[in-house]
Amino acid sequence: MGEPNAVANAPSREILEKIFRTAYKIRVFETEGIKLYRQGLIRGYFHPYLGQEGIATGVCAALKDGDYIASTHRGHGHCIAWGADIKKMVAELLQKETGYCKGYGGSMHIADIKTGNLGANGIVGAGIPLGVGAALANQIRGSDAVTVTFTSDGASNNGTFMESLNLAAIWDLKFILVVENNQYAVSTKIEESTRETDLYKRGLAIGVESHQVDGNDPLAVYRMTQAAAETCRKGKGPVLIEAVTYRHMGHHVNDPGKYMPEEKLAHYKSRDPVDRARADLKDMTGITDSEISAMETEIAAEFAAAVEFSVASPEVSAESFAAFAANY
């Protein structure tokens, strides 16, 4: 069956739908998660991915089962795009035993090794060597898996960035470094932390194929990652992708983000990645508004069910904790 209004060179409806669903799911997770935080159901750090959804969404849509990802402190979006179970994510944020880490990890440490998710990380820049390590393990095993580390503009000034990317380069690893340049490290503007704000150029300096992409355009990110993954699988990796974007709010839920200039924020909000994914889906497939709202309702219901499940879940018992502690 031909697709109505098919656009030349457009990805399949399946991909477009997946991209929209994922971006929207992240949007709901973060928006509703912040409400749970404000109600006191979530403690500790919560770094929202709002405004950056297009990046995780586009990247993960271009990867395959068996690939690996490593993430950051701002990691909910990466997990969701990787296909994580929302129930186990919410349960983790609510420190329940049914969470991904049984409540031992929290927002900054959600990982799922079985699916190749090496985890979020509370240390800025640390996911880069970990991802390169997974790529090395895969090379030694003779696997054609690609590993993506999501990292950030702030991390690009940490030593791990160049050390690890260089190791990936000399060993031709199947590794993609996605630098989410949201132009801030907490409140520090990128211009204050580097003289060269085009971060992809750092890859060029050490012989790594490097590109810049509009991080608010999920399809562009998807296409670029597809090409990068292909390059890697041919043994011509690693590849660096700098995705330029902007947060929709402060650094974490308790940061009002007053230092973000209003006009710039408005500019980026007018180029909202979730809206873009929705528009792409409509324009390229001719899907109806009611079909889209059905998807949105479904995703909202999935999140509500995850909250219900998590609230009802138990926390780790003292006995279980004692048994675990004996390992140390």
């Binding site: 991904y100 990890g105 640390a126 390590g133 393990a137 690890s164 390992n327 140390y328």
Partner: protein, 333 residues
């Protein structure tokens, strides 16, 4: 049994485990063609190829981190760091990543990562190449800390390290690589957490590890001539620690001396002493003595270097004090 050098015993362990498990690989500076600064990895490149035996650039944080990542992803990396002093560049990867991953993932994730490195004095290599830093790792929950003193232990412990799933700080001693000892034939594995009585005795327990073991054994031999029977215990792994062996020995001899090359402050000896105080106090006939390095960086000058870490006369004097054969040391002022 064959007589082997410590470095050759380590190589045998790597060789046997690489042959057994294709996910074991080694990275480090100058370890491939050159065979490593201490020749531990000599010949392994030829046997296992450049995929599994790789030289790295001088990027300690990177190579340790890459090792940790590979371990998380299911391989068994051995990262060789030239000097334990240089491991400081990779401390985030050791402390915040490797040590914590298992807990942070609720027990799901494991990190079978091995950092092989060496420390200690003896080479005239001065303050940045001579430290004994086991206490740093000992302090961090989640790490295993291994300090072999003999070729047999070096081999058996390294083989065990490659068959368990937690991050291991495998701390060799630069002075021991060329020492010789008998190593059992065939499969030889030493499990973690099992100390070894290097010399049985009845008058006093001396606990020592790494290069302090051979030094203490010489002292014990000297004292035997004076009719003093010294039991020398080598815990072999500081984490996990064979508390039972230590406490049983102290219960028998009622006196204990702990010898560590590392400086005294915040050291492992102090912690072992506190364990004995808490769990073996009523057995003691004398205060626990600690013989440790001075609380200073290691000087270059040979006499000063030697003055900075325990030597035989100091060990002997502490043993005699524990036996009330010398006046108790005046409390430090």
């Amino acid at each position: 049994m064959r007589e082997l050098m410590y470095r050759d015993a380590l190589r045998e362990a790597l060789d046997e485990e690489m042959a057994r498990d294709p996910t074991v690989f080694i990275i480090g500076e100058g370890i491939a063609e050159r065979g490593g600064s201490y020749k531990v990895t000599e010949g392994l490149l030829a046997k296992y190829g450049p995929g599994r035996v790789r030289d790295t650039p001088i990027a300690e944080a990177g190579m340790i981190g890459v090792g940790v990542g590979a371990a998380i992803a299911g391989a068994r990396p051995v990262v060789e760091i030239l000097y334990v002093d240089f491991a400081m560049l990779g401390m985030d990867m050791i402390v915040n990543q490797a040590a914590k991953f298992r807990l942070m993932t609720g027990g799901e994730g494991r990190v079978p990562f091995i950092m092989r490195t060496q420390g200690g004095t003896g080479g005239g290599v001065a303050a940045q190449h001579s430290q004994s830093l086991e206490a740093l790792f000992y302090h961090i929950p989640g790490l295993r800390v291994v300090m072999p003193s003999t070729p047999a232990d070096a081999k058996g412990l390294l083989k065990h390290a490659l068959r368990q799933d937690d991050p291991v700080m495998f701390l060799e001693h630069k002075h021991l690589y060329m020492t010789k000892g008998m190593v059992p034939d065939g499969e030889h594995i030493v499990e973690f957490g099992k100390g070894d009585i290097k010399r049985a005795g009845s008058d006093v327990t001396v606990i020592a590890w790494s290069n302090m073991v051979p030094r203490t054994l010489v002292v014990a031999e000297d004292l035997a001539a004076e009719g003093i029977s010294v039991e020398v215990i080598d815990p072999r792994t500081l984490v996990p620690l064979d508390r039972a062996m230590i406490l049983n020995s102290v219960a028998k001899t009622r006196r204990c001396v702990i010898v560590q090359e590392a400086n005294r402050r915040g050291g492992v000896a102090s912690d072992i002493s506190s364990i004995i105080m808490e769990e073996g106090f009523w057995h003691l006939d004398a205060p626990v003595e600690i013989v440790a390095g001075l609380d200073i960086p290691i000087p270059f000058n040979l006499a000063l270097e030697q003055a900075s870490v325990p030597q035989k006369p100091g060990i002997k004097a502490a043993i005699r004090r524990a036996l009330h054969l010398e006046p108790a040391a005046l409390a430090a002022e």
